[in-house]
C-alpha cells in the first residue's frame, strides 16, 4: 500500500494520493504598504479538492489570486515567499518576474464569485480562449466546446442555442459556462472563489455536484463560506484567520480532521460557532 494513501475520506471522492501540485512556502501578500496575508505554507495536493475556509477579509481571495498571478492586475500588489508548480521532477517558480503568465494561466484556470461570461454568444465565450491560445481548426474547436459543455452538464441545455448571448443564461448556467470556459483550455488546476455564493440554492447544488465530479481529474482549490459545502466536497481544508489584521493560515489538514477534530482553538471556535 502506498504510504501516502490516506484511505477513505468520508466526505468527497474516495481517496487521493497526496502528491504536491502546488508548493507554497512563507507566502505573503500586501497591497501597497498594507499586508493582507503573511506566512502561509502548505502543499496543494494533486487531484484533490482543497477548501479554503475562514471569516471574510482574512486573505483567502488574495491567496487564490496569487496562485495564478492575478495579483498582477492589482496596482501595488506584492507577493513574496516561495510558490512552485510541481510537475514530476520539474518545478516552476510562479513568482519569477519573467514567468510566462499566459502559459501559467492556461494551466491554472479560475472561476469567480460572480459569473462573468463575456458579453458574447455561448459559442464565442468558449472559442475565444481557444483561438487566443492558437487553436484555429473548426472541427477541433467544435469538439472541444462540446466536451467542455458536456463536462459541466450544460451541453444538453444549450446545444440548440450556442449562438445565443451568454448573458441570457440563468445565473447557475452562466457559472457552469464559466467553468466550461476554464475547462476548455485543459488546465491542471482550477481555482474557485466562492463559485456558488451568488447562486440560488438549487443552482448552487448543481454547480457543487459538478465541482465534486471534477476531483481526481483536476486539482481544485476552492474558497467557500459554506462550511457544509466545504465538508461535503473537500478532501483537504485550510483554515484562515486574522491575527493583528493580517490574514494567516491557522490550520491545514484533511477535511474530516479539520471538521471533527480541529487542533487549533480558533478553528474549533469558528466551526463550532458556525455550526451552532
Amino acid at each position: 500500500m502506498n504510504p501516502h494513501t490516506l484511505g477513505c475520506i468520508e466526505a468527497g471522492t474516495p481517496c487521493c494520493v497526496p502528491v504536491p501540485h502546488l508548493s507554497i512556502e512563507n507566502l505573503a501578500v500586501s497591497y501597497g504598504d498594507t499586508p493582507v496575508l503573511s506566512d502561509v505554507s502548505l502543499d496543494i495536493y494533486k487531484g484533490c479538492i482543497t477548501a479554503l475556509i475562514g471569516p471574510s477579509g482574512c486573505g483567502k481571495t488574495s491567496f487564490l489570486n496569487a496562485l495564478n498571478r492575478l495579483t498582477d492586475l492589482i496596482p501595488g500588489a506584492r507577493v513574496e515567499g516561495r510558490l512552485r508548480l510541481v510537475d514530476g521532477a520539474n518545478s516552476l517558480d510562479l513568482l519569477d518576474p519573467g514567468l510566462d503568465v499566459r502559459a501559467l494561466r492556461r494551466r491554472v484556470g479560475m472561476i469567480f464569485q460572480r459569473p462573468n461570461p463575456f458579453p458574447l454568444s455561448i459559442r464565442r465565450n468558449l472559442e475565444l480562449p481557444l483561438r487566443e491560445h492558437g487553436m484555429r481548426r473548426a472541427d477541433a474547436l467544435a469538439h472541444k466546446i462540446e466536451t467542455a459543455l458536456s463536462d459541466v452538464g450544460l451541453w444538453e441545455e444549450v446545444r440548440d442555442r450556442l449562438d445565443a448571448p451568454a448573458l441570457a443564461l440563468s445565473g447557475g448556467q452562466q457559472q457552469r459556462l464559466c467553468i466550461a470556459r476554464a475547462l476548455v483550455l485543459e488546465p491542471e488546476i482550477l481555482l474557485m472563489d466562492e463559485p456558488c455564493s451568488a447562486l440560488d440554492p438549487i443552482a448552487s447544488g448543481v454547480v457543487e455536484e459538478m465541482i465534486q465530479s471534477l476531483s481526481g481529474r483536476y486539482t481544485v482549490v476552492i474558497v467557500t463560506h459554506n462550511l457544509a459545502q466545504a465538508r461535503r466536497i473537500g478532501n483537504y481544508a485550510a483554515f484562515f484567520w486574522m491575527r493583528e489584521r493580517i490574514g494567516q493560515l491557522v490550520e491545514f489538514g484533511r477535511c474530516r480532521q479539520i471538521f471533527d477534530a480541529p487542533v487549533h482553538p480558533a478553528t474549533a471556535a469558528y466551526i463550532g460557532g458556525m455550526r451552532g
Binding site: N68, R114, N116, F118, L120, P129, E132, C178, A182
Partner: protein, 280 residues
C-alpha cells in the same frame, strides 16, 4: 399642502423662471421656423448655392460640412480611443503622468474655439502648408473634439465590468485580445456617445473654421480644397449678405436638426450602456 405665503411666492418664482426660459426658447424656434421653413425643401438641400447664398441651396455646403466632420472624426476617433485605452489600462494605480495628461485634456476641453482656430491656422494652414482647406479645418476640429471624446470613452471603459477584465486575464488572454473582443465591444455605447458628442460639437463650430477651412462655397473636389461649413454659411449669410436671412434661417434649421440628431443619438447610446450594466 398648507403653505406659508412666502413659500407660495417662492414656488411661483420658480415656475415663472422656468416658463420664461421656455418661452424665450420657443420664441427663438418659432422665429427660425417662420423665417426659414418656407425656404426649406428637398431642392434646398440638393442644389448648389447661387448669388452668394441668397438663392439656390446648400448642397456643396453640406458636402463640405460632412467632409470636414469626416476628417475630424477620422483623426480624433483612433487617437482618442488609443489615449482612452492607455489612461484606463495603465494609469489605474494613479501616478503623476496620468493625472497630468487628464489635467492637460481638461484644459484643452475648455479652450475657446477661436483659439483652436488660431492654432489651426498657424499650425495646419501655414506651418504644415495645408492652406485654407477641408483638411486644415477637419484637423483643427479633431483637436477640438479630442479631449471630450477621450474623457467620455475613458469613463465608458471605466464602467466596464471588472469581472470581464479579470476573467479574460485568468484565461490567459492577451491584453490586446481582451480589449478587442471583450472590453471595447462592451464599451461600444460610450464610444458611440463620445463620437456623437464630438460630431455635435464639431458641426456647430464656426469660429475654429473661418480661417482654417475658409469661405469658398463651391463644391469641393478634394480635401485640399477650401470648403464652407454650414455654420460658417449661416454666419456669412446673416452678417455679410444683404437679403440672406431667409436662407440663413433655413440653414440654421438644418444645422439644429443635425446637431439635435447627434445629441439624441449620444443620449440613447449612453443610456444603452447604463441598461446593459444594470442587466448584469
Amino acid at each position: 399642502m398648507h403653505s406659508v405665503p412666502g413659500d407660495r411666492l417662492f414656488g411661483l418664482a420658480l415656475w415663472g423662471a422656468a416658463l420664461s426660459v421656455a418661452a424665450v426658447f420657443a420664441w427663438l424656434f418659432v422665429d427660425l421656423a417662420r423665417l426659414g421653413l418656407g425656404a426649406l425643401s428637398w431642392d434646398f438641400i440638393t442644389t448648389a448655392p447661387e448669388n452668394a447664398g441668397r438663392d439656390g441651396g446648400i448642397a456643396s455646403i453640406l458636402v463640405s460640412t460632412l467632409l470636414i466632420l469626416g476628417v475630424a472624426v477620422g483623426v480624433a476617433a483612433p487617437v482618442g480611443l488609443g489615449a482612452a485605452v492607455w489612461l484606463n489600462t495603465y494609469t489605474r494605480a494613479g501616478g503623476g503622468t496620468g493625472r497630468r495628461i487628464r489635467l492637460a485634456l481638461d484644459g484643452l476641453a475648455g479652450m475657446p474655439s477661436i483659439v483652436f482656430g488660431l492654432f489651426g491656422n498657424a499650425f495646419f494652414s501655414v506651418y504644415l502648408g495645408l492652406g485654407f482647406s477641408i483638411l486644415s479645418g477637419g484637423l483643427t476640429l479633431a483637436a477640438m473634439i479630442l479631449p471630450v471624446f477621450i474623457r467620455t470613452v475613458e469613463a465608458g471603459l471605466g464602467a466596464v465590468d471588472d469581472g470581464w477584465r479579470r476573467g479574460a486575464a485568468a484565461l490567459g488572454l492577451t491584453q490586446s485580445a481582451a480589449l478587442a473582443h471583450v472590453i471595447l465591444p462592451a464599451a461600444a455605447p460610450a464610444i458611440g456617445a463620445g463620437l456623437m458628442l464630438g460630431i455635435g460639437r464639431a458641426a456647430a463650430e464656426t469660429a475654429a473654421l473661418i480661417f482654417t477651412s475658409g469661405y469658398v462655397d463651391r463644391m469641393p473636389e478634394s480635401l485640399s480644397d477650401s470648403g464652407r461649413a454650414l455654420a460658417v454659411h449661416i454666419y456669412d449669410l446673416s452678417m455679410n449678405v444683404a437679403g440672406g436671412d431667409t436662407h440663413a434661417a433655413a440653414s440654421a434649421l438644418v444645422l439644429v436638426a443635425l446637431v439635435a440628431c447627434a445629441n439624441l443619438l449620444a443620449v440613447a447610446l449612453s443610456r444603452r450602456l447604463l441598461t446593459r450594466r444594470l442587466a448584469l
